[in-house]
Amino acid sequence: MSVTVFDPDALDLRPSVWSRSLRFCRRQPLGTFGLALVLIIAVTGIFAEALAPYNPTANDFAAMTEAPSLDHWLGTDQFGRDLLSRIIFGARTALIVGLSSAFVGGSSGLVLGVASAYIGGTIDMLMQRVFDIVMAFPLIILALAIVSIFGTGVQNVIIAITIPLIPRCARVVRSAALVIREVPYVDAARACGFSAWRIILRHMVPNVMAPFLIMVTAFVGQAILAEASLSYLGLGVQEPVPAWGLMLQGGAEEYASTAPWIAIFPGVAIMLSVLGINLFGDALRDTLDPKLRDR
């Protein structure tokens, strides 16, 4: 009598990651374009030292407000600093602030949203009212208030943008978690005597990942815009740190008519990064949301 060993892989009929990626690209060309933009920006930010042709903070008085040329592809600013190099290093600032704020804000919102839904009752009601209060302020206004309390700088800008994102994620995640809370396997876990945190983290959180990922993707774009806005208002990162919003401030305004490239290229960088993230986020939503998947 022969014994057949059970091979679970042989029964796995799910398509591979590669084929799923290909299908995503085929079905979501705009999303793929967005993803490509995001990847380009990410690679640019990560390898800024290798890619930037000049030191982004070095003044060059011999090349002040130079128009785009072979030496300086995107021109120079009023201090003679190479704009391409500053935009490349600015991608790093944007990514650090955008990704940190989105993931910390989103993750905190995820846990709080699911916990609020699972616990319910008075605690849920109190948490929701607190979220209501925080959400009553537009993101940029709340971020402005937080920066004015904690001060400027990259760390404080991340905190300032993270805090307003928490309730936004928590609210969406909670509504998904409320449905999951009633499904039989959560009842079963509760009946088995699992702790509330184990049920939340092991059984509920994985099942709200789809809306969470969509939210986080959207948050990255919002955070980059918020960072640029704060820097433009002089409340974000400070000179001479290369940051896109900061590059639009001061000199860019003063030289708008005589050296417009100082304002145009950082503006284009912000636009492309937010466009890329939004296109990718939309495609991700279409892919992960079962109601939209087959449209």
Partner: protein, 525 residues
């Protein structure tokens, strides 16, 4: 004693040429009439009281309504040694070994309410400035530490008695904030001038809307014959530079009196050609970098000197002047003044050596506190961070609004700060008070002690001989910059005035505080 007296007299004669009254510009005949609209680069002045305030926002708002005892020559405000009478009849020669100044006051001058202006009003105003009563703030009382008493000898005579003879006294009297107020109002309520206007200047007050505008009309009783030329004026408050530049471009306003950056000058001249007139001047304002000597490692003179030596002002000045309103490399004294260091003298001081490579050493990390004002604070800050990076010093900027910037400096909560020393009348000795140790002059934020420096200052204050005074100034400057590196004077600012060409009769001076009564301005259209 006689020798001392003659020295004071000689200095006064040499430095402060005397003039009575003034004439209209010789080249063109002024036209009468019209209303001048100008921009005031501020939200609103903190108050309307010139004695109390130190901001140009107050001067640009109310100076046209007031008379002063003395002033810079409106025909040549660029001359740093020439002062003329406004209410006085003649700039007096001091008596009593240089310790008494007796001013004869004009008669027939009236306040807007019709009351006659007498020597009692002049003496009361100056008494309030020099010896403010309890609860009244006088922003420049410390300028007049040499004054023993001031009073009216009769209806047309004001006498200042000094504790010691000093050449800095007479220029200090030309302070553009030293408005002459009515004694009876001062006695009734010394705070009334904070919110009300009652003067005897070339214009009469019509209307003031906080944050919007100030309006005046010609004073028919004005005492300088034929002046003012304008029927009236309107000053519009606009803190944002782009608004002011657009207003001048579209001729909604003809001028602003503080000064614009080079980019605005280039933009307006490019757009409007000969419809725009440009006047420039060295500005009696300059940035200075102050390390906090109460914090390590800035308590070490070697660290302070290393930071100072890393900055190449000779190369940075001409380059920065293309983008920021800075221009002239100088020491602690206004470059146009007889007491200022020559280039050769400057190049003997640390931080001003001609060979920058010889100056630069190796480094450290710290935070540079700066004010959230583009021109020229942030421009200078960005340049400094780059200069220090060349010696391996990593400086990060902390840019904060004006309120927190002052608060952090006053609390000593900073490593190194970009600040400025801005003065009105060029009066070099008084202008360098800013460099005195904090325990002598509270608005010094270096938090160092230096009895040698304080002693040199006291000697300068009492030195009547211009040559000896100049020698003392060099020693004082060397002690601050070269020996102790307490503070690093940066580039002196450049005042760039860009305005509609039909505005005539106004001449630029080295300060945006002076020559603001508008009496000489006329409109050619």
């Amino acid at each position: 004693m006689q020798a001392k007296k003659s020295l004071v007299t000689t200095l006064a004669a040499a430095c402060f040429a005397v003039s009575i009254g003034h004439a209209a510009p010789a080249a063109e005949t002024p036209k009468r009439g019209g209303t001048l609209t100008y921009m005031i680069p501020a939200d609103a002045p903190p108050s309307l009281d010139g004695h109390r305030e130190g901001t140009y926002a107050t001067v640009h708002t109310v100076a046209p309504f007031y008379s002063v005892l003395m002033r810079v020559d409106p025909e040549n405000p660029a001359d740093t040694t020439r002062f003329v009478c406004d209410l006085c009849l003649e700039v007096p020669k001091p008596t009593d070994d240089g310790k008494t100044y007796t001013f004869k006051i004009r008669t027939g001058v009236k306040f807007q309410d019709g009351s006659p202006l007498t020597a009692a009003d002049v003496a009361a105003s100056w008494h309030e400035i020099i010896f403010p009563r309890k609860g009244v703030l006088s922003a420049r009382a410390n300028w007049y530490s040499m004054v023993d008493e001031v009073g009216a000898a009769d209806a047309t005579t004001v006498v200042f008695k000094l504790k010691f003879a000093t050449p800095v006294f007479l220029p200090a009297l030309a302070d553009p904030y030293a408005f002459i107020y009515e004694q009876k109002i001062l006695d009734a309520d010394p705070h009334l001038y904070e919110t009300h206007v009652m003067g005897s200047g070339p214009f009469r007050f019509v209307n003031y809307t906080i944050g919007q505008s100030i309006e005046g009309v010609r004073n028919p009783d004005y005492y300088h014959k034929g002046e003012p030329y304008l029927d009236g004026f309107k000053g519009i408050f606009a803190p944002k530079q782009s608004v002011r530049v657009d207003a001048i471009r579209s001729d909604r306003a003809a001028i602003e009196f503080r000064g614009l950056p080079p980019s605005a000058r280039d933009e307006l001249t490019k757009d409007l050609g000969d419809k725009i007139t440009v006047q420039t001047s060295d500005w009696n304002c300059g940035n200075l970098i102050t390390p906090n000597a109460s914090r390590k490692p800035f308590d070490d003179v070697r660290v302070r000197r290393a930071l100072l030596l890393a900055i190449d002002q000779w190369r940075g000045g001409p380059a920065l002047s293309k983008i920021a309103n800075v221009h002239t490399v100088g020491g602690i004294v206004f470059p146009g003044s007889p007491l200022a260091a020559t280039k050769a003298e400057l190049q003997q001081l640390a931080g001003f050596w001609p060979d920058i490579e010889k100056s630069r050493a190796e480094g450290l990390s710290f935070e540079l506190l700066n004010r959230n004002v583009d021109q020229p604070y942030k421009f200078v800050g960005i340049w400094l961070v780059d200069e220090w990076s060349k010696i391996g010093v990593h400086a990060t900027q902390k840019v904060v609004p004006t309120g927190p910037w002052f608060a952090l400096m006053r609390a000593g909560d900073f490593d190194v700060v970009v600040e400025a020393n801005c003065n009105s009348i060029v009066n070099p000795v008084l202008d360098t008070q800013k460099y005195l140790p904090h325990d002598v002059f509270v608005e010094n934020y270096g938090y160092y002690k230096d009895p040698v420096e304080a002693d040199l200052y006291e000697k300068m204050l009492r030195e009547p001989d211009p040559t000896k005074l100049r020698t003392l100034m060099r020693a004082y400057e060397k002690q601050i910059i070269d020996v102790e590196a307490h503070e690093f004077p940066m580039l002196w600012w450049e005042r760039i005035m860009v305005y509609q060409s039909y505005v005539k009769g106004w001449k630029i001076g080295p300060s945006h505080y002076i020559n603001q009564d508008l009496a000489d301005i006329w409109l050619d259209r």
